[in-house]
């Protein structure tokens, strides 16, 4: 029986796979502790398997990427050109930067060997002899923990030359970012790893699986996704696929933040719990006397859902069913059908005390600050949206500004090199569409035709004033 620290016990509705060892009483990050519980056993199993068989298991498992896009991991691995003669690289994307997301850090900080084992199996499967963990700058201790874990694994023969006598060689390097959200975008990450500015690459032609790091085939997977590989080997793909719901297999970690009694991380079977259960059961409900206003279900760039929205969804049998926000099962496909995305699993709950103009302004601030500036629509549009929402918050906008804000978002959406364009546009698109009246209450028709100088007027709390 696993003992968890007091107050950190998993909720009965959770299914702990990846987070099994997080917050355990008798747990530490050492390899000895990891080995005591069957650590690196799956690696031993995998090294005796055919590489293709491992990939097949991962495909069978139905594992979808946990970084945000939800792309099937096993399918991604098969994109390496079959006639490839160049070295293959695997990169673990530990640049967990999406606001509202904080799952990977717990894996790294508390269970680094789980990641290393998953990575080593994955590298063996795709034929990579060099792998990198690209970790965000804000996890300095995490980088140290990983470095130590790598040294331990190497000392025990789980990494390095001729791993466990299999003839397979793998070196894993930790690379620290420098504090940029865009480094989470896989081609931006690759550029950064190559020592350049993290400007995302155009696709085509630079699909990482064919032309990635140093123009070699490169697989980029999220921390959590790579950890799942270990469990897929342990359980078998078919068995793993029984977790969760069809096409949305396995478990995933939801990071719940915002206006709930117990915000935190909850590992659940994908699609087996509803939004209502997340809020009311896992998180202990909303704060006393508050009403649910809105939910951002998959990290800050996901489109916001209104509490009173009704979603008309097609059922597997072809019939239509209308559901409310609390009935949404937390899986990839249903949330997508509701017009948002499960993304990185960052669920942000907002109650009726939240002013949506401020929320939107906060998000726009983030995306204006993080836009890499490479391509025009995102570079110019994100700051423009930020400036308009600054004025809305400061009471310096007209109702027409709200409409203009919306058109700017649509001018970015779909026109950019990478998905940051959508990430920066979706909050504005959804907030204006769903909270238009509320935003307009901040505006005044009297401000029409005035020249604004928001630098001196913006007094939004918590928002830094622009230097003059």
């Amino acid at each position: 029986m696993i003992q968890y620290k007091p107050g950190k016990e998993p909720h009965p509705k959770e299914h702990r796979l990846i987070f099994k060892n997080v917050d355990r009483v008798d747990w530490d990050t050492s390899i000895e502790r990891f080995l005591k519980e069957g650590g690196y056993e799956q690696l031993k199993t995998a090294l005796k398997m055919e590489k293709k068989a491992i990939i097949e298991e991962v495909k069978t498992s139905g594992l979808r990427g946990r970084g945000g896009a939800g792309f099937p991991t096993g399918v991604k691995w098969t994109f390496i050109p079959p006639n490839n003669t160049k070295p293959v690289y695997l990169i673990c994307n530990a640049d967990e930067s999406e606001p509202g997301t904080f799952k990977d850090r717990y894996i790294i900080y508390q269970d680094p060997h789980q990641l290393l084992e998953g990575m080593t199996i994955s590298c063996f499967a795709v034929g990579a002899n060099t792998a990198y963990i690209y970790i965000r700058e804000e996890f300095p201790e995490g980088a140290q923990i990983l470095e130590k874990a790598i040294a331990e694994a190497k000392a025990k023969g789980f990494l390095g030359n001729n791993i466990l006598g299999s003839g397979f060689t793998l070196d894993i390097y930790v690379h620290r970012g420098a504090g940029a959200y865009i480094c989470g975008e896989e081609t931006g990450l690759i550029e950064s790893l190559e020592g350049k500015r993290p400007y995302p690459r155009i696709k085509p032609p630079y699909f990482p699986a064919a032309l990635g790091l140093y123009m070699c085939p490169t697989i980029v997977n999220n921390v959590e996704s790579l950890c799942h590989v270990k469990h897929i080997i342990q359980m078998g793909g078919a068995e793993y696929a029984r977790l969760g719901t069809p096409r949305n297999n396995g478990t995933r970690i939801l990071c719940v933040s915002g206006d709930v009694v117990r915000p935190g991380y909850y590992e659940v079977q994908v699609g087996k719990v509803t939004m209502g259960e997340v809020i009311n059961d896992l998180c202990g409900g909303l704060k006393q006397g508050r009403k649910l206003k809105a939910v951002i279900p998959g990290g800050s760039s996901a489109k916001v859902l209104r509490a009173d929205e009704r979603f008309n969804l097609k059922q597997p049998d072809g019939t239509m069913k209308e559901i409310g926000i609390e009935d949404i099962p937390m899986d990839f496909d249903t949330i997508a059908a509701c017009g948002s995305m499960a993304g990185s699993g960052g669920v942000i709950i907002m109650d009726d005390t939240r002013d949506m103009a401020w929320v939107l302004n906060n998000l726009n601030n983030f995306y204006a600050h993080e836009s890499c500036g490479q391509c025009t629509p995102c570079r110019e549009g994100s700051l423009w949206m930020k400036k308009i929402s600054d004025r809305i918050v400061a009471g310096e906008a007209t109702p027409e500004d709200v409409a203009q804000l919306e058109t700017i978002a649509y001018q970015i959406d779909g026109k950019t090199i990478c998905a940051f364009g959508e990430a920066s546009a979706w909050p504005t698109e959804s907030f204006v569409a769903k909270f238009r009246d509320e935003l307009i209450t901040h505006t005044s028709t009297k401000k029409r035709g005035q020249i604004f100088n928001p630098v001196t007027k913006v007094a939004a709390a918590g928002l830094k004033k622009q230097p003059a």
Partner: protein, 578 residues
């Protein structure tokens, strides 16, 4: 249009694909970039960052176009729906894609005038302008600015932007020849890529991020490359400007003349921008056999002397030790008179590798008329450091022509001529376009001469010794042909008129020959070329017109151009279009 496919469709040859452009089916080579395919059929796609000689980062987003892929048969469906030409129905994508980096494929549809394409362009255009200073009235780029051009064509015509613009550094001298205005920069990265990929001096880059991104030079470095001014050429806006040209002339006043640079044997194709016989700037002209799209700074800036005070503007004759201005007729007569009493072996011609073929041909005629031997005919070689890009070690632009027309071994006779001058065997020298004091002759040597005739563009010390000094025309003031290091025959064109009474060199040589021998029959530069074509087999069948602005392969040389070799490699790898 020749590319139009005939209906119904006939299977395209292996390397051609059928593409629908704005409703018309056409054939293009498979794998061609969409932007280039469209250019072939006169459909211009607006763009900023794309440059055929540089890699394509796809960052400006101006070339986004609506496209569609051919429909695929649905499950259980045997055939797809066909249009009236027999091509699969196109499934138009709601998402526009960039024409610069995507390639054409079978059954692809492109719409450059659709609502989607137009709306996207309008949006990108608006974004590019919101933080741009819109200082066209004081911007050198005005008149040749892509922002101006495309905003007229594709912009919304009015600004919706009410916020404060982003402030950035202005008037920043990032190198000895380049001035940067960061507020005008649209971050297309053409200059960054040029310095990295072509000039191999990656000193330019971006700092900061988002809308605050700033183009800048690496800390502690300067943009000192001898190719730095190319960055101003390819800058689609007024961010990078030539410090030399800045504020000197509105570009729409400039007359553009296609000619070649005479700074070295490369013969870079060049365009001279002039107004009222004053040269204001020079820049490269595309020629994929010579200089690609580039040019060195030293070559293009080497024009200020053309309009300088140091030009010779009238013929002078030396009488009793002092020079006086004389009419052309008198000066030429004086030049001929001094030669008349001499034996052929007493006369030498020192010509120049800077002369055109036509001038060298006339120098050869003059030598023939005077019966001057090969040992007394030469040109002055000029060498320097080659740079592994474009600059050639041979600093004479027409050594190859001189070898063909005047002396097969340039520079081999000079020492002998000098000895014979010193010994008194050679009594007269005709110095064409060269300062003899730079050719190994000393003032003492020149003092020994009974007769010295000099033609030159500039006043120089040799003129002080000359009995007759004749002012001639600079490279920008004449027509004619030259043969570059790789054996390409290229053409000079006149951008400006020679100053004062200075004359074209071929006229001077014709008149001097006429004064000596009475022979004539040449009335234009074309006549000279015709005579040359009749006499020199290599030129046979050619005319000055036939050379065209791109030149023609003329002599076999084994030489390659380092920069072009590397460009061809990048093209073969698919990195650039070329």
């Amino acid at each position: 249009m020749s590319n139009a496919a005939t209906a119904p469709a006939i299977a395209a040859p292996v390397d051609l694909v059928n593409v629908q452009v704005n409703g018309t089916w056409m054939k293009f080579p498979k794998g061609m970039r969409m932007i280039e395919a469209l250019r072939q059929v006169q459909v211009e796609v607006p763009h900023y960052c794309y440059h055929p000689k540089l890699s394509s980062p796809g960052n400006c987003r101006m070339c986004l176009v609506e496209t569609g892929m051919p429909a695929r048969p649905a499950l259980g469906q045997a055939e797809v729906e066909k249009d009236e030409h027999g091509f699969a129905k196109i499934m138009w994508s709601p998402r526009a894609i960039i024409a610069c980096a995507n390639t054409v494929s079978e059954g692809l549809g492109i719409r450059t005038e659709s609502t989607l394409t137009k709306e996207v362009r309008k949006g990108v255009m608006e974004f590019l302008l919101i933080n741009h200073p819109l200082d066209c009235p004081i911007c050198d780029q005005a008149g040749e600015c892509r922002l101006q051009e495309f905003s007229v064509e594709h912009g919304r015509g009015e600004s919706r932007f009410q916020e404060e613009k982003v402030k950035k550094p202005k008037n920043n001298r990032i190198g000895p020849r380049i001035t940067l205005d960061d507020e005008r920069c649209i971050m297309c990265s053409r200059c960054v890529r040029f310095m990295d990929e072509i000039a191999d001096e990656p000193v330019l880059g971006f700092t900061e991020r988002g809308s605050h991104t700033v183009l800048t030079v690496h800390p502690g470095r300067q943009l000192t490359s001898n190719y730095s001014l190319n960055t101003a050429d390819i800058c689609p806006v007024g961010a990078l400007t030539s410090t030399d040209f800045r504020f000197s002339m509105r570009v729409w006043f400039l007359k553009e003349t296609n000619t070649i640079c005479t700074g070295c044997a490369r013969g870079c194709n060049m365009e001279i921008g002039s107004r009222n016989d004053i040269i204001h700037r020079q820049g490269p002209r595309d020629n994929n056999n010579v200089n690609s799209s580039w040019m060195c700074d030293s070559g293009r800036l080497d024009f200020h002397w053309v309009n300088s005070e140091r030009r010779m503007t009238e013929p002078t004759v030396k009488e009793n030790g002092t020079h006086r201005a004389a009419p052309w007729k008198e000066a030429l007569e004086a030049a001929a008179t001094g030669l008349r009493g001499l034996q052929p072996s007493q006369i030498a011609i020192i010509a120049s590798g800077r002369m055109t073929n036509e001038e060298l041909f006339l120098a050869r005629r003059l030598a023939a008329v005077l019966n001057i031997g090969a040992e007394n005919t030469d040109i002055l070689p000029r060498t320097g450091q080659a740079d592994n890009y474009l600059v050639h070690a041979d600093r004479n632009p027409n050594t190859k022509g001189a070898m063909l027309l005047l002396t097969p071994t340039p520079g081999q006779q000079l020492a002998g001529i000098r000895e014979r001058v010193q010994s008194g065997q050679v009594r007269a020298v005709i110095a064409l376009r060269e300062n003899l004091l730079n050719a190994g002759f000393t003032a003492d040597d020149l003092g020994k001469l009974a007769h010295l005739v000099q033609t030159h563009v500039m006043l120089n010390d040799t003129a002080g010794f000359a009995n007759v000094a004749l002012p001639s025309a600079a490279y920008a003031e004449k027509r004619g042909s030259m043969v570059n290091a790789t054996g390409r025959l290229q053409r000079l064109n006149a951008a400006t008129a020679p100053p004062g009474q200075a004359r074209d060199d071929w006229e001077i040589l014709r008149d001097l020959t006429l004064a000596i021998s009475g022979q004539n029959g040449l009335y234009s530069i074309e006549d000279v070329f015709k005579a040359m074509a009749a006499e020199v087999p290599e030129f046979s069948g050619l005319t000055l017109n036939a050379i065209s602005d791109q030149g023609i392969p003329f002599l076999e040389t084994k030489e390659t151009v380092p920069l072009l070799v590397r460009e061809a490699e990048r093209k073969a790898k698919g990195i650039i279009v070329g």
